[in-house]
């Protein structure tokens, strides 16, 4: 029902890799409603903005990502949901009241190190392994 032009646009888009930095709303992998597709959202966390620069020494901030959006059937040619997400979608369609949709969740996480003071003015350098979401998918 979206008409020729949009479908043509879709086709173009689906051949290009997802680039979140081009801003929200440009990608729709797996939902008929383009705006709420499961994707990675970005927000730069500035420790200065949070008023924490007196105890966090470095970094200044970091690129925070979180996964949000709908996972619903049909998935497009890319099928980038996990298998059981596909099955869950189908079962959900058959019994929407009792079976929830698959959820949009991180599939790849990265580490970040933070340097900060504790209450006793000791300095802590810690690696946080699962701090930054790199990719999302439907589970």
């Amino acid at each position: 029902s979206t008409g020729g032009k949009r479908r043509h646009q879709n086709r173009n888009r689906s051949t290009q890799p997802q680039d979140g930095s081009r801003g929200p709303g440009l990608t729709d992998y797996n939902s008929s409603n383009q705006k709420t597709a499961c994707k990675r959202h970005e927000l730069y966390v500035s420790f200065r903005e949070l008023g924490w620069q007196d105890w966090i020494i470095a970094p200044e901030g970091y690129a925070a990502n979180y996964c949000d959006g709908e996972c619903s059937f049909p998935l497009n040619g890319h099928m980038n949901a996990t298998n059981h997400a596909i099955v869950q979608t189908l079962v959900h369609l058959m019994n929407p009241e009792n079976v929830p949709k698959p959820c949009c969740a991180p599939t790849k996480l990265n580490a970040i190190s933070v340097l900060f003071f504790d209450d006793n003015s000791n300095v802590i350098l810690k690696k946080y392994k699962n701090m930054v979401v790199r990719a999302c998918g439907c589970h």
């Binding site: 979140g20 990675r40 970005e42 690129a63 190190s113 998918g137």
Partner: protein
């Protein structure tokens, strides 16, 4: 949904609303494993040797994680340019690669007992290792002391510097000491001195009551004890960026105790 969030300039920067800010603070504190935001006591807002050393380690790590340090660096550039930055040695970089966490500890007490019972000058140092998170084990620990060039009197002399672990204190006589290391130095030598105190700090973590600190004493080549200050060792009254500190490298201890079903 692959993407490249390293493209910081194009990244979404937007001012947070008050409740968003509070929510985010709460969430990040929980991810950092902190019960509340720390409130360090910083002397007149300037950082001393330990944070500068730790920032050096941080740069080493973050060059791998491609994280942003410029802002932090700018804050220290003015300090670092005029001071002698404590650079991490190769050995420390090796510890760093293996560590999950690194902590530097503020020296809590420092006495220069000029005239003790047996006229032995020595400096005392104590570190509070009670705040170490659960499950972290020390893989390496160092005590770092900065030595400056000395005055003319001792210029061509050599010093014998000894670091002791205080084993037991007595109200009416000198403490029982265990020699950790003795090192011969040129009096004119200047720079950071590192002493391995891994075993000692593991003891302090496992048995806090044995954490009675360290003592440092210096003798000239003729066996005369001199004050650490005369030997050029920087103490609490020296420059901020040359303050003595301790640094420990931690790894999550692999021993997992299975809970009973």
């Amino acid at each position: 949904l692959e993407g490249n969030s390293d493209s910081q300039p194009g990244f979404v920067h937007r001012r947070l609303r008050t409740h968003e800010r509070r929510e985010m603070q709460k969430e990040i504190l929980s991810v950092l494993g902190l019960p509340h935001r720390p409130r360090p006591h910083l002397s007149n807002g300037k950082y001393n040797s330990a944070p500068l050393f730790m920032l050096d380690l941080y740069k080493t790590i973050s060059s791998e994680e491609k994280s942003q340090v410029e802002g932090a660096l700018e804050r220290y550039q003015s300090i670092a340019a005029t001071q002698i930055p404590p650079l991490a040695t190769h050995q420390e970089t090796a510890f760093l690669n293996d560590a999950d966490m690194v902590m530097s500890f503020v020296n809590l007490v420092e006495h220069d007992r000029e005239l003790s019972l047996d006229r032995r000058h020595h400096k005392e140092f104590k570190f509070n290792l009670s705040q170490i998170p659960e499950g972290e084990a020390i893989t390496a620990a160092e005590f770092r002391l900065y030595k400056e060039c000395v005055s003319q009197v001792f210029r061509n002399d050599t010093f014998l510097l000894k670091v002791y672990q205080v084993v037991k204190e007595h109200p009416d006589r000198e403490a029982d000491l265990f020699l950790l290391e003795s090192r011969r130095l040129w009096a004119a030598e200047e720079g950071w001195l590192e002493f391995d105190i891994t075993a000692t700090s593991n003891l302090w973590v496992m048995s806090p009551m044995h954490n009675l600190g360290l003592q440092v004493s210096v003798e000239t080549s003729s066996g005369q004890t001199i004050s650490c200050t005369d030997a050029g060792l920087v103490g609490r009254d020296g420059a901020l960026e040359k303050q003595p500190f301790m640094v420990a490298f931690f790894k999550v201890s692999e021993v997992h105790i299975r809970s009973t079903r």
